[in-house]
Symmetry: C2
Subunit: 385 residues, 2 copies
């Protein structure tokens, strides 16, 4: 279903020859209207890839007619030539589709520091346009894969099925190797203006994609776009719409974690009883980024001392001797000291839940991460060579 689950969109995915192995590497998503409202969120890394710099400007206009996405190269740290290449890509799509380049967003993913093969990419845009279809969502999702083992799509619908939000994603956010990137395109046939799309998208990403932290490494290319065609003719209630967008984002975010490179465990870090949501997020992220804990979980070792040492590096409100930690529901640490028998913890399944109780308030947050494995090291030490 993907980006063509909602009415008013066509998509295509083809092999343009950007990837040396001949796999699909170019996707095109087109909004056929009647509305072209759009919003986007981008990496907060100060080193931004050329397509991010370009698409940020496009989205500021509040309208997006088409998105060109390529795998096989991130077009990051490529200087003025890289930016010209992104511009030329948008111009080519505009020319083929008969629209303005100022409404064409571009997203790229792959190795940093390598120029894209424009002699392959530009003809690819023409070829993809010829394949555009209201059933092309799956092929588009496949074409943006890099080291993803599966393509990722999700759909949610409004009350009575009056409208839909669909989406596709690639990458495992900051985990992707050398690689840059989580790319996400969401579409809806609800009739929603750009300002409302922006609000719904930011609310959703703050609680979903922003709380996926596979390896603490922030990409230069992260891009999440939300396009509205208005083709359903329905203006949704804001709450319903925001729920649908968040549901699709959460679904895709969970799929990213589930496909993270080299991972053998998906780790849900729940922080509860924090003084503020910010505290809960800070503590959750600190736990999620602790390499020693991630190794321990890989070894199915409920090493709660590593959780406490991670909490201790934060500025969150808590007293060390009131901290409690559960692993898969067993409170192995109580009041900052030894709790229930660690042998009671069953860590055989892929999903592991670490619960940190700060005993400092009533706020909470969840951060998702993965374990740290020898496979991660292997994939990421051999990628570009």
């Amino acid at each position: 279903m993907s980006v063509t689950a909602a009415k008013g969109f066509t998509a295509a995915g083809i092999a343009a020859g950007i990837k040396a192995n001949g796999r699909p590497d170019l996707a095109l998503v087109v909004n056929t209207g009647p509305s072209r409202a759009a919003a986007g969120v981008f990496t907060s890394n100060r080193v931004k890839a050329a397509p991010v710099l370009w698409s940020e400007q496009v989205v500021k206009g509040g309208a997006v007619t088409a998105v060109v996405l390529n795998s096989g190269g991130a077009n990051a740290c490529t200087g003025p030539q890289g930016f010209q290449d992104t511009h030329a890509t948008a111009e080519k799509a505009a020319e083929v589709l008969g629209h303005s380049a100022g409404e064409v967003a571009v997203a790229s993913t792959g190795l940093i520091g390598v120029l894209l093969p424009m002699d392959k990419l530009l003809p690819g845009v023409e070829a993809a346009a010829a394949e555009l279809s209201a059933h092309g969502g799956e092929k588009a999702a496949v074409a943006i894969k890099t080291t993803d083992t599966v393509h990722k799509t999700a759909v949610a619908t409004g009350p009575g099925g009056a409208w839909a939000v669909g989406g596709m994603a690639k990458g495992a956010g900051m985990l992707a190797p050398g690689l840059a990137t989580m790319l996400v395109v969401l579409t809806t046939d609800a009739d929603v203006d750009a300002g409302t799309l922006d609000k719904a998208l930011r609310d959703a990403t703050r609680q979903t994609f922003d709380r996926v932290d596979s390896d603490g490494c922030m990409s230069t290319n992260d891009t999440v776009l939300l396009l509205a065609s208005g083709a359903s003719g329905t203006v949704p209630e804001y709450g319903d719409f925001a729920d649908a967008v968040r549901t699709v984002c959460q679904d895709l975010a969970r799929q990213l974690i589930g496909d993270a490179e080299g991972a053998s465990k998906d780790i849900k870090v729940e922080v509860v009883n924090a003084a503020t949501e910010e505290d809960a997020v800070e503590v959750g992220r600190s736990i999620a980024r602790n390499n020693l804990l991630k190794c321990a979980i890989h070894g199915e070792d409920p090493n709660w001392g590593r959780v406490l040492s991670a909490i201790g590096t934060t500025a969150a409100a808590f007293e060390p001797d009131r901290l409690n930690v559960a692993i898969n529901g067993v409170w192995v640490c109580r009041d900052g000291s030894v709790g229930d028998d660690r042998d009671l913890v069953d860590m055989r399944f892929r999903e592991v839940t670490v619960t940190a109780d700060l005993a400092a308030g009533d706020r909470s947050a969840v951060i998702w991460t993965n374990d740290l494995t020898a496979d991660y090291v292997h994939e990421n030490s051999a990628y570009s060579s």
Copy 2:
């Protein structure tokens, strides 16, 4: 030479039975005077082990007669009982040595969340006292090892050999598995008051131990002590003394990196042309903590894009299109884009230098780290189980 290189100190290292494998696990260092001036720096982790809480108070008094150190257990996250155990350890040493417990520092290293076997430790303090010798420094250094493959000592002397600064260290700072800790004891026979020791020690650790960042994980037990006996009868020039302390700290810090678990590369991250030293340290630490870069270096892959993406997550002053990066002296990134041929980079040797030029000022800093390897994952996923 170690902690007995300076006159006025005795030391011992024995096997007290704390470690199940029967290896040495208890060290005692005694200042025989005439001075007992001392200073210390401790982990900034808010979750502090019992011996850290105890020794911070001891050091505040400005005098330390003896230090009891054990491996085989960190006595961290052990609640009120853990603190009582540290207190009892100091009392036992005071009783055996005929001094006040208020001048006995305690340091522990090993697994977090496990009570120490006091029935082994307290008799061990007596046994160690019986072995005290002016030549006991090496044995003390051996007894504090955990997963260290070698014991670590260093010595520097003042002008004309009038006085000396010696030291021992264990651990690889924040890298040690599950494990807690870098423990360091420095001694000197120079006649220096506690306030001056504190200043020299803080100046030295800020530029040495604080800039070793193996895996970004901060211990609950880090302890660095500096004890002065005054036995040389010489009051040194401050500059000479501070230099000697820094030299010994730098030597020991480099040894810690060289023995980091699972590491195959020692990585020197140099940040140059920063606007401020703080900027240089922030950028250096961000690069040093980037798992993707650490994997790439393990694979001898000069993946400079990962350096740029790490710099981009900081708040330091820089313009993305003016950044330059060299790996082992080859400027593979110039002006934020592709620079010299990456195939020119030779990464076969253990030491690898990453140079980040921020082009924003004239300040610099060096952070040392290690690569991320499958061996690191193996050691840290199997340690406590």
